[in-house]
């Protein structure tokens, strides 16, 4: 394996585009180095993007924040602005691994690793986050829900790198939340994850909502019928019941050692319901 750590994204793109064989981008490395050491992947070239200064920046943009691809979970969690605007995204990122893993792991890496159980992705999908991708053909902006196509699979072309993720501005009276189920309190992979973002009208009714579920299908699911169950309501019991039912109905999980199909389907509804109430509380300020 060849290791390169270029100073600019153009150099990084060129190296990846021109390389023969298997390539990997190295951001935090908390997935890719485990895969490398266990022999799951044998890259010919690994391009470390952390020497590229812009990759480490969190910058205000149009009322939202642009988060560089090398920003660690720890760095994101220390950013008061992002925490205030998108607390659900920050809490989802902070659920990934231990303090040690947080020192390295990145949101962009969590997205590009393309695990259906990635904690940050449901939160990013409901936030309508946009990945800024640079490649041999130039730059393109892609909604995060169009990045992954299955476990370990993305729509990124050869030579393309996610440079940053934009967390957009949001209307007043908005809130988001992410919850996951694991059989312990820390350090595990989601059995089910649920992200909710919503905006309330002045009268307290729900003006807009997005609901996304993790670990219940081959990709993170954006569940529109679940969002529709909330819109127009005050998140009363009937609306929350309808939300939970719609969330469960959308699930098409696998049975594995972490959970059964039946369990995941049920828990998806429970978590969606609880996350909605937290998002509502945050939206009320």
């Amino acid at each position: 394996m060849r290791y390169e750590a270029p100073d600019t994204i153009d150099q990084a793109v060129q190296m990846l585009a021109e390389a023969d064989g298997l390539t990997r981008v190295l951001a935090g490395g908390t997935d890719v180095i485990v895969q490398l050491r266990s022999g799951m992947v044998e890259p010919d070239l690994m391009v470390d993007i952390k020497r590229i200064e812009a990759m480490h920046a969190i910058t205000a943009e149009g009322g939202g924040f642009r988060v560089g691809a090398a920003v660690s979970g720890a760095q994101l969690g220390e950013h008061e602005g992002v925490k205030a605007l998108w607390p659900g995204v920050v809490e989802a990122v902070e659920l990934i691994g231990s303090t040690q893993v947080q020192g390295r792991a990145t949101m962009a890496g969590n997205l590009c690793n393309a695990s259906p159980a990635a904690d940050s992705v449901p939160a990013l999908v409901v936030a309508e986050a946009v990945a800024s991708i640079v490649g041999p053909e130039g730059r393109r902006d892609v909604p995060v829900d169009e990045i992954t196509t299955g476990p370990g699979k993305t729509t990124l072309a050869k030579g393309e790198i996610v440079e940053s993720i934009l967390l957009p501005a949001r209307p007043a009276n908005s809130g988001d939340a992410y919850l996951r189920f694991i059989p312990r309190t820390e350090m595990d992979i989601a059995v089910v994850g649920a992200g909710i973002s919503l905006t309330l009208n002045d009268d307290g009714t729900c003006a807009a909502a997005r609901v996304a579920l993790g670990a219940v299908a081959e990709v993170v699911l954006l569940v529109e019928p679940a969002a529709d169950a909330l819109i127009g309501s005050r998140l009363d019991e009937a609306a929350l019941d309808a939300l939970a039912a719609a969330a469960s109905a959308a699930c098409r999980p696998i049975d594995d050692k972490r959970g059964t199909i039946e369990f995941r389907t049920k828990v998806a509804g429970v978590l969606a319901r609880r996350a909605a109430v937290i998002a509502q509380t945050r939206a009320r300020g």
Binding site: L26, I33, V34, D48, S98, Q100, V101, M187
Partner: protein, 158 residues
Amino acid sequence: MSQIHVSTTINGDPVEYLCEPDETLLDVLRDRLGLTGSKEGCGSGDCGACSVTVDGRLVCSCLMLGAEADGKQVGTIEGLAEGENLHPLQRKFLEHAALQCGVCTPGFLVAAKSLLERNSDPTETEVRYWLAGNLCRCTGYDKIVRAVLDTAHDMKGA
């Protein structure tokens, strides 16, 4: 496969080494530099026995390439004591008998030092969450948590 030349700083001292592109920082520390205090438990970032700091951030050295340390400030367990003078955390671990076999202890100490640098007065819950990525299969954790809380208590009184 050509080796990579790395210039870094470890526990305040400038260090240079050659390493393979796919060699972890942990392997460099242990096998090339003789700094065997950092341990390999799992090799996958789950146990924390290889904890070090890089530019002040707590990380698993098994989840980082040696090549990535170029130009960085690395802190290992060997940097805790000053000569014969143990770090307050080390003294408290001994006082509370917060170790049995000792394999996890360097990682716990490096992680606990990193916590106390950020939060000099942590609650028990904060200590337990901060150290959730450090596994110990001997002690049941209580003695470790008490040692960290007692260190914070003493350092605050100092």
